[in-house]
């Protein structure tokens, strides 16, 4: 495992690398490595047992520079293509979790030639009428000093140990406080204003990605409704959907082995 900083058009991007084998680009989410924590989790370790995992941190997350020109998902897609250029990645299998899954789907639709296989986990990004993506920004603002709402949005068991450990009411230290703030400041740049965590036109562009796709979802995701898994599954031409029962949005934390099994099986 290693962490290094690369220079992408003058911006520092922190990149995590681990494992060996076929390379896989991992695009992170919120309750994830490079998001609310600065280290790899069980799911990433399982992935790295089979593949060479390359995981850049989004602008402003952990050691990556903020990018004030980032104003929407297109900018993030362009940034990520520049990261790939810098790493000499022409075409690669991509695994994207949460907002990273949305980003992966955008790259696949716009630049299908850069993507081998596509695996997305609990990804926002689609507009499905009447099936709103949750307001994460309101949910993270304390209600009577507590942020139960975001724990329930992220985890099937919002009162459970995992939820408490990942998103406690009181920040256990400055590092955790900064990681939370940086992650939300990053995602606010492309997820806050309408469209709220979606790109209205994405669903009708997904047909452009003809490769194999895997859609993994927690059966009780209350940030991105499960109907969005169906949306991705139907509009990506060669997709299979895997629902992990009893899990919420942070399915790769709640069931790391099950998710890793689906993803590694799909990529192998």
């Amino acid at each position: 495992m290693s962490l290094r900083n690369i220079d992408v058009q003058g911006r520092t991007v922190q990149v995590y690398e681990a494992g060996s084998g076929n390379p896989v680009l991992y695009l992170h989410g919120i309750s994830d490595m490079h998001g609310l924590v600065d280290e790899n989790c069980a799911f990433h370790d399982a992935l790295a047992e089979k593949f060479s995992v390359i995981a850049p941190a989004m602008p402003g997350c952990v050691g990556s520079d903020e990018d004030n020109s980032l104003e929407g998902i297109d900018d993030l897609r362009f940034h990520t293509l520049e990261v790939m250029d810098t790493l000499d990645i022409d075409r690669i299998d991509i695994v994207g979790n949460c907002v990273g899954g949305w980003l992966a789907a955008e790259i696949a639709a716009h630049n299908p030639e850069r993507v081998g296989k596509l695996a997305i986990i609990s990804a926002p990004g689609l507009f499905i009428s009447g099936e709103q993506i949750g307001d994460l920004f309101m949910a993270v603002q304390p209600l009577n000093g507590k942020i139960d709402d975001i724990r329930h949005m992220m985890f099937a068991d919002g009162n459970g140990v995992l939820a408490e450990e990942w998103i406690p009411d009181q920040l256990t230290g400055k590092l955790q406080g900064m990681l939370r703030y940086k992650t939300f400041r990053c995602i606010a740049r492309f997820g806050f204003k309408p469209p709220y965590f979606y790109d209205q036109k994405l669903i009708d562009r997904l047909y452009r990605f003809k490769g194999d796709a895997l859609v993994v979802w927690g059966g009780e995701d209350s940030f991105v409704p499960i109907s969005h898994a169906t949306g991705y599954g139907e509009y990506l031409p060669n997709a299979i959907i895997e629902i992990i029962d009893g899990c919420g949005h942070a399915v790769q934390l709640e069931a790391p082995d099950a998710v890793a099994e689906k993803v590694t099986g799909f990529l192998s």
């Binding site: 903020e66 004030n68 920004f137 400055k174 406080g177 703030y181 992650t183 204003k193």
Partner: protein
């Protein structure tokens, strides 16, 4: 020598909430159900509030202050310019301070340039033009991604001021608001342009932007004398870094005052309105109880450096205690955020503040929450007659002693 300037500030709160509002609602902002609006009870409300501001003008205040808030019960001024426009017709002397319009909420900031220019002409040159980024609730209401607010604010301010000072038509190439034709009619009356005030809550980044343009910095977080003195010192330092000279009139501060005949009477008359303001109006804004919307990762407008400084601060260590968290009257008094008492008491408290902070623009809230018209007016009148004259006299002396360059600057004008 110019004395301290005293302005009458109004929030225009919604005063007809049910008694159990606090118990049944998590916020007075954004999600506060508007079925609580009582149209019949609210008939004449704007007239009452405007009447208080017109009365401030009659009483000799240096000006009247309006502000912009949306979808809330704290301040019924989604468009302060409409009220400023009314004030141009019912007041004669005082400055009309709009503090401020929120340009990041608008697609085209030239609308603000135009309306301010109209108000300046309609008031015969009495506008003070304020601009603010908007708080967390406004981000939710108007879909402004918080990290982009400040960039939009400063591009808008610079464009607006340029539209007032430079002959048009010219084009503007900024990334947020590119314009082919900037050529506003009317231009403002005041030359080169109305004074510009910008609020901040002590972040160095905001102070620097204000200082380098020579505008007036308005400290929007209610602070006691010591906190305000620190802020004034920081701002003076930043101004010096940009080759400018600090004077007390380069800074303003928000205060809250209630005056009555005696201390006991002042407390008895004001506490209902003050606690309505603290419990209901500040819920969702400056109170831990309820849904906090003003500050935090969900509305991340502070830079990473500012957030880091916050995490290091005593406020974070205290669990983020805020004005609206005052438990009772004694707790409120100890916070020293609201000055309540007889003319003598308020004179003493206010003088301590001015002597300590040496800030030249005092923006004073007299009406709180559901406070009755006659009480707000009585407090304003007692203040104007029994506090204001002494403040003017003593502060002129103080400023003459501490800021001798003010005379030279006045002479140069």
């Amino acid at each position: 020598m110019q004395p301290v300037r005293m302005f009458c500030w109004h929030f225009m709160a919604y005063p007809h909430l049910p008694d159990d509002f606090d118990k049944n609602n998590e916020s007075g902002w954004v999600t506060v159900p508007n079925k609580l609006w009582d149209g019949e009870k609210s008939r004449g409300l704007y007239q009452e509030y405007l009447g208080q501001l017109a009365y401030a003008d009659e009483l000799g205040f240096d000006g009247m202050v309006l502000n912009e808030h949306h979808q809330n019960i704290y301040g019924l001024m989604p468009s302060p310019n409409l009220l400023a426009s009314a004030l141009t017709q019912i007041t004669k002397n005082g400055k009309i301070v709009v503090l401020g319009n929120l340009p990041p909420l608008y697609l085209n900031p030239l609308r603000v340039a135009e309306e301010y220019a109209m108000i300046d002409n309609m008031s015969n040159g009495r506008l003070i033009a304020g601009f603010a980024v908007g708080g967390g609730p406004e981000a939710f209401n108007y879909n402004v991604p918080s990290p982009q607010g400040r960039r939009r604010l400063w591009e808008a301010i610079d464009l607006i001021v340029k539209s007032w000072t430079d002959d048009g038509p010219f084009s503007h190439e900024g990334p947020c608001y590119p314009m082919r034709y900037v050529n506003i009619w009317p231009k403002p009356l005041q030359q080169p342009h109305p004074d510009v005030w910008v609020p901040g809550s002590r972040s160095i980044e905001s102070m620097a932007e204000v200082a380098k343009r020579g505008y007036c910095y308005f400290l929007s977080s209610r602070s006691h004398g010591g906190g305000t003195r620190m802020a004034a010192k920081e701002f003076a330092g930043v101004m010096k870094d940009y080759g400018k000279t600090y004077t007390p009139f380069k800074m303003g501060v928000l205060l809250s005052v209630y005056v009555s005949e005696t201390d006991e009477q002042a407390r008895a008359e004001s506490q209902e309105g003050i606690f309505y303001f603290l419990r209901n109006c500040l819920k969702g804004h400056l109170r831990k109880e309820g849904r906090s919307m003003t500050f935090g990762p969900g509305v991340p407008s502070q830079s990473l450096n500012s957030w880091e400084a916050f995490l290091d601060s005593s406020r974070a260590a205290a669990g983020g205690e805020l004005l609206g968290d005052a438990k009772d009257w004694a707790d409120l008094e100890s916070k020293n955020s609201i000055m309540v008492g007889s003319p003598e008491t308020v004179r003493k408290k206010l003088w301590e503040f001015v002597e300590d902070a040496k800030v030249g623009n005092l923006l004073i809230q007299f009406q709180f929450g559901n406070m009755k018209d006659e009480l707000a007016r009585k407090s304003m009148k007692l203040f104007a007659e029994e506090v204001m004259p002494a403040m003017r006299r003593d502060s002129a002396e103080l400023f003459a002693k501490d800021f001798p360059m003010l005379d030279e600057m006045e002479a140069a004008l």
